[in-house]
Symmetry: C2
Subunit: 145 residues, 2 copies
DNA sequence: TATTGTTATACTCTATAACTATA
DNA sequence: TATAGTTATAGAGTATAACAATA
């Protein structure tokens, strides 16, 4: 929906437009960062949620991430393919799969978090440390509603 | 690439993630705002550029917006269909079309700018007026690189 | 009858490449 | 030979709906 081209001066008066364009750029850069591992931002998000909720079901992941059920199948298939996560049997409901990170998944997530942190600093390198903190705080406030 | 679901707490530590999610939300809301007019954000962007550069060629629009040439054809087709813009002959190059807003296009753009401004205030309603200005200034600084 | 996970399919969006008419 | 605009097509990404197993 939004181009990768220049940000036209005539549109910078709208903070929502800047948010959209910078968000798109940020997503593109993050996808680039994950590409050597064969992963997409979505995998990072799902791994993060699994790390915080070990044994979560795919339905649970759908609710926590908003990624729909059929897409989630593919995401977890790929995480299993790379040996980063695994489906295990649910102790009491044979329909449900309990999802866990493997040791390798945990290590990979730790490494990717460091890379992601470094990317943040680069994306916001035009700002001073104090400005960066202010921006982060304001974005969190907007996100919280 | 990014879900419409909740923003997981575990990811709010990354300002780039917040930027991406809030930018997506902002784009979605803006698209919703234009929908009753049968327009998409892309049309608003192109109309804005035409207003600032009357008689611009489609190639010029491509360079200024980053929207590729074949997609631009459709955007201008639709603007013409709604009577908001028109292709005219270029005075010296018969290959080139000079694009102008119609009177109706100018009026529509003015009205949509007001709606867009109102949406900005709503999107950032969690912030005080002074915080909103700070956020806008910081986003502009990041955008400028 | 409802739910979990899965598969197959359709749909949207966008980019790519080929075509025309001019230069 | 190159460029502006156009058209047709193919690809990625995503949502929708149908299905099998289990509750």
């Amino acid at each position: 929906m939004w181009s990768n081209g220049p940000i036209p001066d005539e549109l910078t008066m709208f903070p929502g437009y800047l948010l959209t364009r910078l968000g798109h750029e940020s997503a593109r850069r993050f996808a680039e960062l994950l590409d050597p591992d064969g992963l997409h931002p979505r995998h990072f998000g799902v791994m993060t949620i699994i790390a915080a909720h070990p044994g979560v079901s795919q339905q649970g992941l759908r609710e926590l991430t908003g990624i729909d059920a059929s897409s989630m199948v593919g995401v977890i298939d790929e995480l299993e393919l790379f040996g980063l996560a695994e489906r295990r049997a649910h102790p009491s409901d044979r329909r449900t799969r309990a999802i866990f990170l493997t040791d390798r998944g945990t290590e990979t997530l730790t490494r990717l978090r460091l890379l992601a942190g470094a990317l943040q600093r680069e994306l916001f390198s035009a700002l001073s440390e104090s400005e960066r903190k202010t921006l982060h705080r304001l974005l969190q406030k907007v996100a919280a509603g």
